[in-house]
Symmetry: none
Subunit: 284 residues, 2 copies
């Protein structure tokens, strides 16, 4: 068990100040512990003795002992960053899953043409076009996520409800040149196909995020972004879809970086006023 995990595990059994110190250490791992206890303590806004008591609770003799152990661990980590050769004979299911997810991401990259990706990003970055985003049963969450973040970048973003009438109503507001992003993966849904067809008739540009099998809506789409989603499990994995969404958003942001900063600042302001987020001062 690594020191980091040990500290994480004992987090609940610590006192307030100790937990404050531990949280700081963990969130700046392992940087924080490589310096002197004085620096660490002041950075975490606790006293040095508190840090000593913390590491003693973790089973170390003192700060020096703790630091020596940590140094050894960091050294090991840097020497072999995650890819230890010749082992991993019995993979944990979590690791097997991650390996497949990584493979999917890489295959997705090979599959998607860069011009297609860029074109889709350019469409989304055009402030003159409204953007409507629609997902299916499994991809509704992705649509919502994309809408939330895209709204930070630019105005005029709608997340089409998955209520039976939601997408039909969205068609009402659709004008020529608007962008409709449709997520539709295996177990392709009739909604998506109809939406694509009708939106295309109204002159909208259709961006379709689908799986390798290609949604039937592909026939109406102007830009198709296929993702690898197959897993050696009962379900598919939508990790690649989320990655694609975030990559798109990053590209869109690149297109309109100047506006974004202003919008971000205003957003911060709103959040500060509504006190949704905790204040800079740590909990108490």
């Amino acid at each position: 068990m690594t020191i980091e995990q040990r500290m994480r595990a004992s987090l609940p059994s610590l006192t307030r100040a100790e937990r404050q110190a531990a949280t700081h250490i963990l969130s700046h791992f392992p940087m924080s512990a490589l310096g002197s206890i004085t620096m660490l303590a002041s950075a975490a806004e606790v006293s040095a003795p508190t840090v000593v008591r913390l590491v003693q609770k973790l089973g170390f003799k003192g700060y020096a002992d703790y630091q020596a152990a940590l140094r050894a661990e960091v050294g090991r980590l840097l020497a072999a960053p995650s890819a230890l050769p010749g082992q991993a004979p019995r993979l944990h299911p979590m690791q097997a899953f991650a390996a497949q997810a990584i493979a999917n991401i890489q295959m997705t990259l090979d599959q998607i043409a860069a011009p297609e990706f860029d074109a889709a990003a350019a469409l989304l970055a055009d402030p003159g076009r409204h953007v409507a985003i629609m997902g299916g049963r499994l991809t509704h969450a992705h649509a919502g996520y994309m809408a939330t973040l895209l709204r930070v970048i630019r105005p005029g973003v709608t997340c089409v409800s998955d209520h039976p009438t939601g997408w039909q109503q969205a068609l009402l507001d659709l004008r020529t040149g608007d962008v409709v992003v449709i997520f539709d993966i295996r177990r392709y849904e009739a909604n998506a196909i109809h939406m694509a067809e009708l939106a295309a008739r109204q002159g909208a540009r259709i961006v379709l995020v689908t799986d390798h099998g290609l949604s039937p809506a592909a026939g109406y789409a102007h830009h198709i972004l296929p993702c690898r989603i197959t897993m050696p499990a009962a379900w598919d994995s939508t990790v690649t879809i989320l990655m694609l969404v975030e990559a798109l958003l990053g590209r869109v942001q690149g297109h309109c970086a100047d506006q974004v900063q202003d919008r971000l600042n205003r957003l911060e302001d709103v959040f500060a006023k509504t006190r949704i987020f905790r204040t800079p001062t740590p909990e108490r």
Copy 2:
């Protein structure tokens, strides 16, 4: 220019003992600088003053100054492994994004303890416990996705609304032994912390999915699953969070595979009847 490069560059202009020290440092980079100058000097078989003179030639004020700079550099290196110098020959932004996402997934794996993961999955698989899932502004979509899929596996799953009163109402139904899954990543939200605290008081088991910075809610959580989310961009990436969610779901399904099949069949039936999905016949 990194410290390592600087040292390598100035190698020829050093004296014998200094070069001996520098060679030792470079061949054990960056471990060497984590310890005291005394240890380093004896390991390199030179005197401590020689090391001081070496780092002063490199432009540092003294050993302490040098060590602080090196720590900062190592910290940067560990935070963004894909930012390793000397590679990346003009990748497409999409590829750069994917590379970082993959790195994040791998680092997340190293960070999460398998027992922690398994324990969380076991909790979620226990049909005797209700499960409430709650996300923040950015992670609400993930919470919804998890709830959607978890409901396929087992009954008794609630997705807590992010309306101001939603999570408070969810507390009403909470019984001892129930499971509360909380997503809370950077820009930690007060909601999550309060929910964790109150739910813990009511005897619920708290599973916290957070970032490496550790949500303040960690103090109340019984199982902490930290994900790497940092990206070399304006935003963080929640890809690893989704991967973790899906990996968890896969594990949960493994625990109750028999029940799932039955539920899946009934689900298919329901969908067929409501005609949400298109029929097996291709489109048109």
